[in-house]
Symmetry: C2
Subunit: 182 residues, 2 copies
């Protein structure tokens, strides 16, 4: 099943090799035998952390300026895997660096592609609980503000201009469904 959907790569041409992404063009053979070109962005994998404070019902969020969106977004803490870094280790590191909190419990939820039509970026999602305050130390080119926001407020901000990035919407919706199960 599905054999008639598969594309076969005929040729792959590197267009750009950069710091956080590469661009290539693949020539592919379609299921009907015709050929097509695919523009593909190769991007490092990343993590997103849902840092949930059970006692207060708050989530630790970050506000940061996003150049492609040309605005400040309210997001869940996130970051890219370093070379050979395990996703779970990266989640711990990014949570500490961005928010200054350590997670007593860090549970893997799963992973997802951000935009599988043209990009191989994959994000690993973690739920962080039993949090304790530590200290924040962001990267040199990273400027962000840390806030604790009640989950109920985040729910109301979904799809408003404040929360409009996919990983954060996924995190908030996940947490809403997850807590309803208890």
């Amino acid at each position: 099943m599905g054999q008639n959907l598969i594309e076969k790569q005929l040729k792959s041409t590197e267009i750009y090799e950069g710091r956080i992404l590469n661009l290539r063009i693949d020539n592919v053979k379609l299921p009907d035998g015709n050929e097509a070109k695919r523009e593909i962005v190769e991007h490092a994998a990343g993590v997103t952390i849902i840092p949930y404070l059970q006692d207060t019902g708050e989530v630790i969020m970050v506000r940061q300026f996003r150049n492609p969106a040309e605005q400040i977004l309210l997001e869940m803490p996130a970051g890219m895997l370093e070379i050979n870094e395990e996703p779970k280790r990266c989640a711990r590191r990014e949570l500490e660096e961005e928010t200054g909190y350590k997670a007593g419990d860090l549970k893997r939820i799963g992973s997802f592609y951000t935009s599988p039509g043209f990009c191989d970026e994959r994000i690993h999602l973690y739920l962080a609980q039993n949090l304790s305050k530590y200290e924040q130390h962001t990267d040199v080119d990273e400027f962000l503000e840390v806030l604790k926001i009640p989950l109920e407020d985040l729910k109301n901000k979904l799809y408003t201009p404040e929360i409009i990035d996919a990983k954060t919407i996924i995190g908030v919706q996940f947490l809403l469904n997850y807590l309803q199960k208890d």
Copy 2:
């Protein structure tokens, strides 16, 4: 508030101009006065449709091969806006082209960036109801399989290898929360 987070664009260099995406490098001034480079992918905006059959509790889904993920994914119907196309018109068109269904009701949920750290791709999300069968006619380089799947099954497939793309996870989680409110 947030002024101290904003980056200022100093220079922008076009690296590649393609069919579905462009790549540019921005030199930016950071809030502390230092400079940094940002690799940015410009990508056409798109739509994702949640086609929900109230009578049976099923969602109309598509299976298609995704080159960057190197596998067949189970996704909600989606597509890119044509030049000057309104998102709602695009949602109607893509739903009809990909699944062969027309929507009696098409409700805008909101929009989101798929990966705002490096890409300006924005997806507009719609809930389609009162669906009637029409006929499927996909693009020449598009091969997909249409399936009706109970929402409960989709819920169980979240974060398994079958459903691992962001827009589809957002759509399924949205529908789960939306129906719980009724």
